[in-house]
């Protein structure tokens, strides 16, 4: 009946709201992934079922802040030794900060050869970050995407272990 609901809703709302509907379905489908120890770094998220290509997996949720506020927080987090930042840039004006408030998408590890990618959707005027599968993901595989951190001087080693690993996150 969820599919029936989706079909009825989409016909009434038109396809542009497909993202809107799908992002709300996400909550109902949380069982798709689980949190567990990662071979890449600390903990990560794993697929609990086979996931088809270009499926919406999870939204990266946190506090929406302005860029300069994010710059100040990054400095403050570094001063307090809070690990790698969970700041995700949406556009030139705003950033989603999942360091202290958000959901467990913040635990998704980086890979230089990822099986997912992040996409910014605008739903009802609000920009939101959604992680999609880039290819079929088998049950038990770790979910990863390319963080695309800006290049910086002081490097953070990349532990993804992929053949084409770039060596650093930034």
């Amino acid at each position: 009946d969820m599919r029936m609901l989706q079909r009825r809703l989409l016909t009434s709302l038109g396809d542009t709201n497909n993202d809107f509907f799908k992002i709300n379905m996400l909550k109902a489908r949380k069982k798709m992934i689980k949190f567990a120890r990662s071979r890449i770094h600390g903990y990560g998220l794993y697929a609990m079922e086979t996931i088809a290509q270009d499926e919406m997996i999870i939204e990266y949720i946190g506090q929406k802040i302005r860029s300069l506020v994010a710059d100040e927080r990054e400095k403050a987090y570094e001063r307090r030794g809070i690990g790698s930042s969970y700041l995700f840039r949406i556009d030139e004006h705003s950033v989603i900060d999942a360091t202290k408030r958000g959901n467990f998408a913040r635990f998704i590890n980086h890979s230089c050869q990822p099986n997912c990618y992040a996409k910014v959707l605008t739903i009802e005027g609000e920009k939101r970050i959604v992680i999609y599968s880039r290819s079929i993901i088998n049950k038990g595989e770790e979910i990863t995407y390319d963080y695309k951190f800006p290049i910086e001087d002081d490097k953070i080693d990349c532990l993804c272990g992929a053949k084409a690993c770039r060596g650093y996150l930034n």
Binding site: R66, S67, L68, V69, H93
Partner: protein, 116 residues
């Protein structure tokens, strides 16, 4: 005529005529003209403010970020309505006890060396 600049300002501020209206976090609007030497002065009417809101006013170079308050960096000097604190490089110092509020006329003077 010196006006509020139509583009040298934060996009989220609304400017109609010479009146700037802002809400939520600090953002900056600058004048259409700058000064490079000598002594200059401008005045602004502080029309209204909702409870618990504050403003900052002052002098800024064009390099200062628009998505922050005046006095946040080394490129600007600000004066805050709350406690009348003066700010430069994000450091607030005692300046004019008691601060200012809606209904006040605010004057800002800058004195730049003529020959340097």
């Amino acid at each position: 005529t010196v006006k509020v600049s139509s583009n040298d300002r934060a996009f989220q501020l609304t400017v109609s005529g010479q009146t700037i209206t802002g809400m939520e976090g600090y953002a900056m609007a600058r004048a259409s003209h700058g000064v490079a030497k000598g002594t200059w002065y401008f005045e602004v009417n502080f029309d209204e403010q909702p409870d618990e809101s504050q403003i900052r006013i002052g002098w800024s170079q064009s390099h200062a970020a628009l998505q922050a308050c005046v006095g946040y960096s080394k490129f600007s000097y600000g004066w805050r309505s709350k406690h009348g604190t003066k700010f430069h490089e994000a450091k607030g110092k005692k300046y004019h006890f008691g601060g200012f509020k809606q209904g006040d006329v605010l004057g800002c003077l800058i004195h730049l060396p003529v020959d340097a």
